[in-house]
Amino acid sequence: MTIDKDGLITSGRITQHIVSTLGKGPLGTVNGIVVHQTGGSTAQSAFSGYVARPYGTHFLIDKDGTIYQTASLLYYTSHVGKLRARCVAEHRCTPVEMKTYAKFNPTLENKLESAKSAPDRYPGNKDSIGIELVGEVKAGTDTYVDVTAEQNASLKWLVSELAMTFHVPMTEVFRHPQLSRKNATEASTATW
């Protein structure tokens, strides 16, 4: 995988569809990769959303497996949200942390976690690469549709290439609800 001076990937497998407003500021050391589902049924609806409101990821994978780069890898994007306490999820909090986190307070939790360094915390907006998979919530339910086989094949390739290029351990690739409080079914059928 080759990345040019503008943070764009040169690869026959990736189609450029950059929405410049998604880039918020300089992307620091990449400590993780976060996999999302869009909530919409088409790539076009995601593109329209990115233009209307600058929340999104660096990559978008359509249902047929087409990979779009939507933001430069020079910049971070807003895609994660408030962080969960990693030590709680991994049952390795210190006694002080256990006391702090005993009372459930997601806002405080995010504030304290954000002050830590990775990998003591989950990766956040400023140190992660985001990948969205086109996929809606099933009508009348709160459950995301299954990720297609084509999407999973593309995701596997993209995650592998990004992990190698940015030296991200595969243990630092997460589904969005793992590191932030989201609909638990988001990207639950994604594999890499």
């Binding site: 918020k24 909530g39 999104g56 949200g81 709680v88 999820a89 969005h176 989201k182 609909n183």
Partner: protein, 137 residues
């Protein structure tokens, strides 16, 4: 008579939204029509299994007046922006609403202040940042 359905449609084009940050999405006027009645059908429910021992959905309950207050204070948010910013909770209260014009809708309000109001096939995602206890966040 302007229908609640039309009002919700118009709400999607309202220009006076806040700008939004990395933690809060743009907040727009919800323009929810006047409410005649609120019925709470499910309370203290949990949707998805979470591996967090601190989570207790049974403690999250709302009365009909509290639901009315939520709808009064809630702002409309875009689902894509909400997914990148707001916490979603598996704990929720749900029920039905009847508007002053006779139309009815379904609603669901989560513990972390996110709600959904559905009238027919249209759905409005809501967020009430200043909602107090029993909300969290």
């Amino acid at each position: 008579m302007v229908s609640a359905f039309l009002l919700l449609a118009l709400a999607g084009a309202h220009p006076s939204c806040t700008e939004g940050t990395e933690e809060v999405p743009p907040l727009c006027p919800a323009n929810i029509p006047a409410i005649r009645a609120v019925i709470v059908e499910r309370s203290g429910k949990g949707d998805h299994i979470e591996d967090d021992e601190r989570l207790d959905c049974s403690s999250f309950r709302l009365s009909a007046p509290e639901v009315r207050r939520y709808f009064r204070d809630a702002r409309r948010v875009n689902p894509q922006a909400a997914d990148a910013t707001l916490d979603r909770s598996p704990c929720y209260v749900a029920g039905r609403v009847t508007f002053a014009n006779g139309q009815t809708g379904k609603w669901r309000i989560e513990q972390y202040k996110v709600g959904r109001l559905t009238i027919g096939k249209r759905s409005l995602l809501l967020y009430a940042p200043d909602a107090g206890e029993p909300f969290i966040g």
